[in-house]
Symmetry: C2
Subunit: 705 residues, 2 copies
Amino acid sequence: MKKNLLFQPKSIAIIGASRDPDKLGFLVLANIKRYGFRGKIYPVNPKAEEILGYKCYQTIHHIPDSVDMAVILVPAFYVPEVLEQCGIKGIKTAIIISAGFGEIGGKGKELERQIKEIANDHQIRVLGPNCLGYIDTFQKLNASFAQSMPEKNNIAVFSQSGAVCTAILDWANANDIGFSRFVSLGNKADIDESDLFQEWENDNAAKVILGYLEGISEGDNFIRFAKKITAKKPLIVLKAGITSAGAKAAASHTGSLAGSETAVSAAFKKAGIIRAYNLEELFDYAKVFAFEPLLKGNKIAIIANAGGPSVMTADAIFQSKLELAKLNSITKAYLERKLPKMASINNPVDLVGDAKADRYKIGLEAVLADKNVDGVIVIATPQITTEVKKTAEVIVAMQRKYKKPVIASFMGGKKISEGVKVLAENKIPTFDFPERAVRAFEAMFEYSEYLDRKDKTDLILTENINKDRVNNLLREAHVAGIFNLGDSLDSLAAKILRSYGVNVAKSQLTKNTEEAAEAAQSIGFPVVLKITSQDILHKTDVGGVKIGLNNKTEVKEAFKEIMASVNKKMPEARIEGITVYHMVRKGQEVIVGGKRDPIFGPVIVFGLGGIMVELIHDVAFRIAPVTKKEALEMIAETKSSKLLQEFRGGEAYDIDAISDTIIRLSKLMTDFPEIEEVDINPLRVNERNKGVIALDVKMVLKYDI
Amino acid sequence: MKKNLLFQPKSIAIIGASRDPDKLGFLVLANIKRYGFRGKIYPVNPKAEEILGYKCYQTIHHIPDSVDMAVILVPAFYVPEVLEQCGIKGIKTAIIISAGFGEIGGKGKELERQIKEIANDHQIRVLGPNCLGYIDTFQKLNASFAQSMPEKNNIAVFSQSGAVCTAILDWANANDIGFSRFVSLGNKADIDESDLFQEWENDNAAKVILGYLEGISEGDNFIRFAKKITAKKPLIVLKAGITSAGAKAAASHTGSLAGSETAVSAAFKKAGIIRAYNLEELFDYAKVFAFEPLLKGNKIAIIANAGGPSVMTADAIFQSKLELAKLNSITKAYLERKLPKMASINNPVDLVGDAKADRYKIGLEAVLADKNVDGVIVIATPQITTEVKKTAEVIVAMQRKYKKPVIASFMGGKKISEGVKVLAENKIPTFDFPERAVRAFEAMFEYSEYLDRKDKTDLILTENINKDRVNNLLREAHVAGIFNLGDSLDSLAAKILRSYGVNVAKSQLTKNTEEAAEAAQSIGFPVVLKITSQDILHKTDVGGVKIGLNNKTEVKEAFKEIMASVNKKMPEARIEGITVYHMVRKGQEVIVGGKRDPIFGPVIVFGLGGIMVELIHDVAFRIAPVTKKEALEMIAETKSSKLLQEFRGGEAYDIDAISDTIIRLSKLMTDFPEIEEVDINPLRVNERNKGVIALDVKMVLKYDI
């Protein structure tokens, strides 16, 4: 396992430092100096004597002391050579700011490959290339060409886009938000988000982690290390690039529904990552998670000096997973005594338009002390008598006193700005519009729900799992060069699934009455007999089908009747025999499938038969391995799964058996990376305790060449 | 028709004017004076000689001249008397700012009723009560207790909530947005939104209309007059209070799906109103519609100095009704020649991080001149070399030159503020986050699609409509005191629907073979016979059902067989007879229904059979009267209607006949206000040109007492 990232250099070399104030090589050095880095600083520039008061060195080898970190700003073409020198010098961490690598393709790609190789050979951890750099407010290190230094605070940030970095920094300065570590990932030649997760898991300066990603490097690690983070603290990620021609094409077929956005969404869910869908959400969540205690439940109180905004906030709460708290009778009695008659003492609490700060204090004190209230949204509109600043101060004091999460919404512009300032300085999140407060509280509630879950350890499934047999079957397919293990119940796909305990319907082609009777016995009664002939399309029309046969005698009789009828009605048809099938009762049809995502591995899908999947896209996804609890959640997540419960007085179906099938399919794909895609469609579901049976299965294999 | 609203007073009386600077009676007078009203001003206060330099009058009758408008600020209890005096004085418009009316219930309600009566008697138009007042920047009239005067601009605003008024005003001042008319509607005792629609339809100072509503006064007028507005200019409305216990309960039953949010949403759609879902959207749309030419198509170009934000914007476009424009080859060739190599010349156009204003000019000029581009989103992130102000100036100049809509997104905080200022001053909408630009463009595109529609006149349906017969049937029900015209095919509901040309399946109870044969003849072959007896639950088990009977002989035979079998198997059963039904081929089942909304009248619903409606809520709504085009749109709007097309190689269904049924049901409910609810469930749909048949119908009546 690689270790040692960037985080505690005692000495830094700036390779490509420049005297020209317009050059990045100057700006980075200037930032390191200006923001007070207390270690040793060594500019490297063969043409300069000194820059900004620091002695310059011709090459890194000319530096007499050992160096912990290098910041590299030379043109891309020279970077491999420079990095090689860093390796020889024993430098452990390099930040490559230079651009011109993978992002330009061709030659750049080759240079990036070289970097990776050198980094690996010398065990150098590399940040970038093509990045803004690295900032650490705790160390007072600004090894970047950002135009400012953020405030110090316990939020750690990473971003794959340099431009998003600059926007975040500029926004943070305007909003009194500070950061601890700030990492521009660039092309992620070496250090990626998973490395940061490991680094920050036990880092107290990273109380909240924010990230912007366009691609995810290694799905396995991503989920694994993100999970460790989210067990301890919030990880909020904006994933861009979720739509693409590829995702668009993902449509009608079960397998193809498991497109890339699907996989990302399932992976975030599995890892407990709080997902922001745009920068506004990322920032809103950052404030709320960093500055407020976690929301413990979903009961929200609204306090306002205005009816309209309360109505809008209540609308938003109603449409979320949150609920309006029911205030207890003591709270209401208190409010009734203390507030004017026109006030509303129910939630939303309306303090009436002429409310001054004292009335906000009464309202806040009452609802914050109420055990039925988990969090509060305080709204102020600029009325004539509104004491904007004092009200903000009351909110700060009350939040400090009761330690429940409070979000403010001061609505307007100039007139409320003084209050917004007080709130920002005191780290009470405030939003222009109360709907954003609702959204942020909802994200908090979802995270606290995630933390409450009990199924964090995965159940290990062993019963009816025959790994060796699947190995043999897959080898058989490989040797034969078969990749589509389609389409009959006698196929390799069926055999493989059966070896993992999936109940796939059996069938057997038979040539005579005895064979048919034996087959029926082994398949299990009742059975169906169907004529098998490439010449016969409409089997029923020629008397080629007999259903509901309950014993050997009936089977033999039926065999003879079918043969007689077919011989009479289509004497010229070439007959292969008669196939015996187990006869399936009527039941609900569902689909269980899996498709391997290139990043996250097997994405398992569940949905109800035909229309619900193909037309309504009423499907649920999880990343394998799927736990029992996840499997049951998947089923419950689809709207149409209500059909599996006691719908309209009908019977309840065997949901447990479906979840078992999901888990088995998930395990199969986890155990055998060569299985690219599996489809059980349909899986027929019987009543509770009567099991499920796969009526058609398909499997696609893919081998690394 | 009432006329004359508030808009051009030459003289104003302020009844309840006060010398106390903390009183609203002072603030309103001060505002009228301060912002330069050029008409005559008469404070009315029996205890004062003069206020703010104006001579005071004891009562309105003491004013020697005629007065156009009164602003009333006396306590609620005195308002009716004062309003009566205004009527006698011949005042045409009164703004009642005083609170304490309908909003407090009880006594207040009674006072409000009195106001309405007096207003009606004296033909006074009344704004309020319980409102902030009225502002008109064109007349320099600020007859409100708002703490500021907005800039002058061609946006008219109304709001039902005073608090939302103050928030809007404060926001507008902070964002360089101005207004022409600004109306606080308050309790809407008289003047409501529909009055304003009429007033503003031809008002050039109301180029864009913004509104905030909690309730809608008269659905009919609302749709009628809103439609007239939207044919000419954008009407953007935020409707709050869309969720309620009532709306929550609206769930499983067809009729109850037509809850109140459903009706609002259908009404807005019908009237072409641009709907904002929160204040942020209201403001965003206001800027874009007021300051930009209308987006003509949905092809958007993105220009940015950064990859990340472009990706996010492209994501948002992909998820909207907009599309990324395909730049034509000349544009691309131009960009290739003019931009550095690292730039991306495809849409999104990436000018690269070090882009200065000149590069933005090149990019903007190229895409704005491109015929494939309907609108442009320009993104700037604060990089080292970014010329924030100059870039803003370039955007202004290019928008002016090419007159296509351009929205800017300058992302960040302090560093980009100078550019944001230039854009705001020059009325180029700019948003912190580009996703909001996408949403605003989408709203514009939807409005321009609405304007392009061709079915603005409603088709009048006359064929097979027998209004007289329905009148008679309804009278029959009324006399009999029946309100639920359920549940058989022989019911009044069935007869009423048939009288409006809906094809309801027929049935007839018969007593002997001859009657059965005759009934079958008149109903049409093939038919089904079913035993009818309250004692027999499982008709098939006792041989009580015969299907697929194709002629009289078969019917007679079947009648005898049923009777014989039933007599043998259940000799004790009391037999009413045998019912003859038309036998319906297999087809797709849909639901057509209607429920009268108290505000908007009949809301018509369409959905596919059972599960799709009840579980998936895959339904479409329109306000009656529904046009042919709307009916077809309703059908197409449901996802599951794909099942009616050639789904999986099956036949196509008779969509035209469904739309005909929708229109007939819509007309029936429009013609007869006593019909509260109609349900056709299921309506069986045959293949194309084979029609539809209603297999079960229900109707609920309601009479005004």
